[in-house]
Every structure is written in C-alpha cells, then in structure tokens.
C-alpha cells in the first residue's frame, strides 16, 4: 500500500529521514528504522572533518527552527566505518548526503561511499549558511554540473539525488542536472534566515545566519516540489520541508513528491512521528478509496473539475 520505488530504490514507505537530523551514527539509523522510516539519509559528509560552528548553532523559534550546525562531520575517511556499521544495522536504504567545497571533494566522498555500500547519494548543493559550500555551489551552474558528472562516475551506478535550495534558479539547475544524469531531486533545504534577541541586541547564532526549517517553510517547499513536478513530470522528487503530520506528508505527495523527508518534526513530535504519518496515510488511502500511495503522486496537478 505504501511501498514506493524511487529511482530504483525500493522503500517500504515514502518517509525518509532528512539529512542532518540524527544522521551521524549507526545506532541512530537503527532507531530511525525501528520508528518506521522507509529510508535513512546521513548527515552531509565532506572529505575533511569539520567541527562546525560554535554554539548557539540551533534555535527553537517557537514556530520553526534555525540552525547553523555548519556541516559538522567527521570526514568521509572516519565516517566510512560508521557507514559500514549503518549498512550492517539497518535494512532500509542508506542515502549518503555528500558535501564539499569542490567537485573533487564531492567525487572523493561519493567514491568512498560507493565502496562502503551506500545505497544512493544526495548531493547537497543547497546548504544556506556555509561559505563556499552548499547553495553557493548550486548557484554556479558549471561547478554544479561538474560535481554531478564526477559524482556519477564515482557512484557505481547508484542513484544520485540533487538537493535543491529554494534560493536560486532551481528549475534551471534541475533541467541541466537531468541532462547530466541526475536520478532525482530532493527539495528543499532550509531557507536562509536570521534571528535577533531584543535584550541581547545581537543575532543569536554564532554564525549570524542559519537555515530555517520546520512547518513554516512548508508552503515554500510545496511550491518548489509542485514546480519541479510541473516541469519534469515523472522524475522522482523527495519532498522535504515542514512535514510534521500525515496531512503535510500527503500535501507533498499530491504536489508531486514520490517520497517525503522528515526532519525537524522530530524535535516536536519525537520518533513517533514516523508511525503517526504512516498510520494516517494508511487510513486516508482506505477511506478515500486508493489502493496505493503512488496513485496520489502529483494528483493536485489535474486541473479539470
């Protein structure tokens, strides 16, 4: 009923743990699998270790969250071992999120990831708060395409998703990326945001700017997913951004997402969120008379009355 196929990956259900959320260790991967997720994305891994930014690197805004973790990660050489453990620990697909400052770095991480059995890759060209990485690379079409080409060559034929930002010309990038052989899109990463404390009279994050996530970014995420589907039809999309219930997961699917990322909702709802969404989707399919979730993908695009 809820199974989906995503560029060749078989998922027991469309829910994918979003990158950067509990994506650092095999023990967490197992817990996420047990909670019901259909796939697991690692935090974004770069070639070299990164300590990330100083605290405060995370804010609960009341509505939504702002983070500037700064792509903290142990580097792929160290993480390779964790990847081994992850592959041993869980049966759901493990998607390696890949970051870096140059095409060579992306290539290196994908290569090691492929050797260690990552089931798919997600190229993070969309982190909004790290200079010289993420969204800045996505803005430079030539660099972005070079990253995709090199990643493809190093991927051992496994699917590669391009994680897009709502900030740049994502439709232009998406079109070229498809020609360069990308398997699908993940949309969206966090929005670039800022928070100030009126008594401290200062920005809160040590990095000043951070990535905005949670329910408030959902209308923007839905817009991007809808546009991608409108433009590229059957290319698989992982819809991410503010999903915190079966209703919002379904909105993503109706907008055109074949799978749905769950991220910050875990802060408010705990691991239970996976089970709740699955349960809700099941009930909806039954009462509304659908047999498979796949029947709903992109259904909101039908215009006739």
């Amino acid at each position: 009923m809820l199974q989906v196929e995503l560029a060749g990956l078989k998922l027991r259900n469309p829910l994918i743990l979003a990158s950067g959320i509990l994506g650092s260790s095999a023990s967490l991967a197992l817990r996420v699998e047990e909670a019901g997720a259909g796939a697991y994305t690692t935090k974004t891994i770069t070639r070299d270790p990164r300590p990330g930014y100083l605290n405060p690197s995370f804010i609960d805004l009341g509505i939504g969250y702002l983070n500037a973790i700064g792509l903290a990660n142990p580097g792929i050489d160290d993480f390779a071992e964790e990847l081994d453990l992850m592959k041993k620990a869980v049966r759901i697909p493990v998607i390696l999120s890949v970051g870096g400052g140059s095409p060579e770095e992306y290539e290196y991480v994908v290569k090691i990831g492929a050797e260690r059995g990552a089931d798919a890759f997600e190229l993070n060209l969309s982190c909004p708060h790290v200079k010289g990485m993420g969204a800045e690379l996505g803005e430079d079409l030539d660099v972005a395409l070079e990253i995709i080409r090199r990643a493809r060559a190093a991927s051992g034929g496994r699917p590669i998703f391009l994680k897009l930002s709502a900030h740049y010309n994502y439709l232009g990038l998406a079109e070229e990326a498809l020609k360069a052989g990308i398997s699908g899109f993940t949309a969206i990463n966090t929005l670039r945001g800022l928070a100030i404390d009126v008594y401290a009279r200062a920005p809160i994050l040590s990095n000043v700017y951070g990535g905005y996530s949670g329910p408030p970014i959902k209308p923007v995420a839905l817009r991007v997913v809808y546009e991608l589907y409108e433009n590229f039809g059957k290319v698989p999309i992982i819809g991410v951004g503010g999903v915190d219930s079966w209703v919002s997961a379904l909105e993503m699917v109706l907008a055109g997402a074949s799978a749905v990322g769950v991220g910050s909702a875990i802060a408010a709802n705990g691991f239970e969120i996976f089970g709740e969404i699955i349960e809700g989707l099941r009930k909806y399919l039954e009462t509304e008379g659908f047999r498979r979730i796949t029947e709903l993908v992109g259904l909101a695009h039908e215009r006739s009355v």
Binding site: L22, S25, L30, R50, S57, P74, A200, I266
Partner: protein, 264 residues
C-alpha cells in the same frame, strides 16, 4: 528563543566554581534537567539546574574554558543570562521508603543539590557523598547538610573529609549502610567505576551524563550514545545503570563536535 534572566547574586563558592542566582520566569525545571545557557557574542553551553524555587534558578558554574571563563570574569549582578530549556529527562525520584544516596564529584554536585532539596520537600530523606580534589574546591556543603541525613565527604588530598576517591569511600559506605538507590553525577571515569561497583548488587542507580551538545532537543545527533542510539539531551541526561553499562567507551571517550571519538 531564549529567555533573558537577570543575575540576582553571585557567590564565589570556590576558586573555580561560582553560584549564580537568577530571576527566571520560564517553565519550571525538575531535578536533573538542564538549560542551554547563552552568553551573547560569546557562546552557549549546557548547565544543570542546581536548584529552583518560585522563579529563582540556581546555576553552579565551574570554570573550564572559553564560555565559563567569560562568565566568571565578566558577568556581574544585574547582567542578563539567556536560557532555553528546561530540557531532558531528569531524575526519577526515589520510591517512598527507599534508602537513598546521592553521589557527586566536583561540579557534579550541582544537579544533585536540586535533587536533594526536592526529595526533602516531598518528605523523603537521603544521604550524600561528595568528592572534591581538595577542601577548598568543595562547595554546597551547608546546603547538602541541610537537605540530607548524613553527608560523607572525600577529597583526593585528604584536606577535608576522608582521603581518597569517591569509589573508595563509596565501597566502604555501601557495606555499612543498606542503600536501595544511588543517584550519581560527576566525572565520567568516576561514574564508570561506581557503576562497576554497583553492578550486580541489585541497587537502583541513575546517573546524569555529559556530552557535547548543540540542539538540546534531540535532532542534531551530536550527543548520541552508541550503540544505543540514545540522545543525552533528550532521552537523558539521566540514565539508569542498565543503560550506562552498555554505553560504548563509557568513561573513556566521547564524540566531539565533528562526531569523531575523542578521549575524555
């Protein structure tokens, strides 16, 4: 967002620890819960609730490095400290009739004081064993005396109380007094020794752990305990003995801010 809390008083309890009393108007913390404490333009660190009553929050801050150093040197009465929290799962209070011992090493005394006060307020009783490097690093002794039945004291150099490390003194006490429950907080190697000591005795034990933290709400993964997938900030910081003994590298290494294993 953070809540601004004014410093109402500062007491230098030892050369390395100061106690800050704050006017705080957020949700009430329970013993064992912690706050993420932000000093604008400096940094944010986790700190335990050393005590709380009616909008008065006590923090006992031991100087360790950049942020704690800045706090000690620059913050004055009337200044603001910014808090988010309370976070985490704190201590389960002892069951009525439990003979209870609180075991705290160094800065680990802080969360236990709040626990002791809470036990007393609920009409319970507990003893406490506190350990410090030396007598002039000892703090909260009067407070513990007020809240506890017996207070045992250990210092590495014997300058106050018994000479020796906490586990040595504890071994002795455990033999003499039939405790049912132990609450533990302090340097992790010490906690590992105590856990070993208690293991298999049937005693209930809960310990408050420390890890690097970022989000404090259980989504970044920084504070994970392997191989259990437990998050110190959300599933803890207090965990029972059964959990503690299964933690990889307990008392030996943590994950650093880049998730790599670093010796404690």
């Amino acid at each position: 967002m953070h809540l601004a809390a004014r410093i109402e008083s500062i007491i230098n309890v030892t050369s390395t620890t100061k106690v800050y009393r704050l006017g705080y108007r957020g949700p009430s913390p329970g013993p064992g819960q912690f706050f993420m404490v932000w000093i604008p333009r400096v940094g944010e660190i986790p700190l335990s609730t050393a005590d709380y009553e009616d909008g008065e929050l006590l923090l006992a801050i031991t100087r360790r490095g950049r942020v704690t150093g800045y706090i000690h040197e620059n913050l004055r009465v009337g200044d603001r400290i910014y808090l988010r929290g309370p976070y985490g799962k704190g201590f389960n209070l002892p069951r009525g009739g439990d003979k209870t011992l609180l075991v705290g090493g160094g800065a680990g005394a802080a969360p236990l004081l709040f626990l002791a006060e809470t036990i007393r307020e609920r009409g319970g009783r507990c003893d406490a064993l506190l350990g410090f490097r030396s007598g002039d690093e000892a703090f909260f002794l009067e407070e513990f005396k007020r809240s506890c039945g017996s207070l045992f004291l250990a210092t590495d150099d014997g300058s106050m109380g018994s000479r020796g490390a906490i586990p040595d003194v504890l071994r002795q006490i455990l033999g003499e007094r039939g405790y049912d429950a132990i609450y533990l907080c302090g340097p992790e190697p010490m906690m590992a020794e105590v856990a070993d000591l208690v293991r298999g005795t049937g005693l209930r034990l809960e310990a408050s752990l420390e890890r690097y933290m970022r989000c404090g709400v259980g989504i970044c993964g920084t504070c994970v305990l392997d191989p259990l997938g437990l998050r110190v900030c959300r599933d803890g910081p207090v965990f029972p003995l059964e959990v503690i003994v299964r933690i990889d590298g307990f008392g030996r290494w943590w994950r650093g801010f880049d998730s790599r294993k670093t010796p404690i």
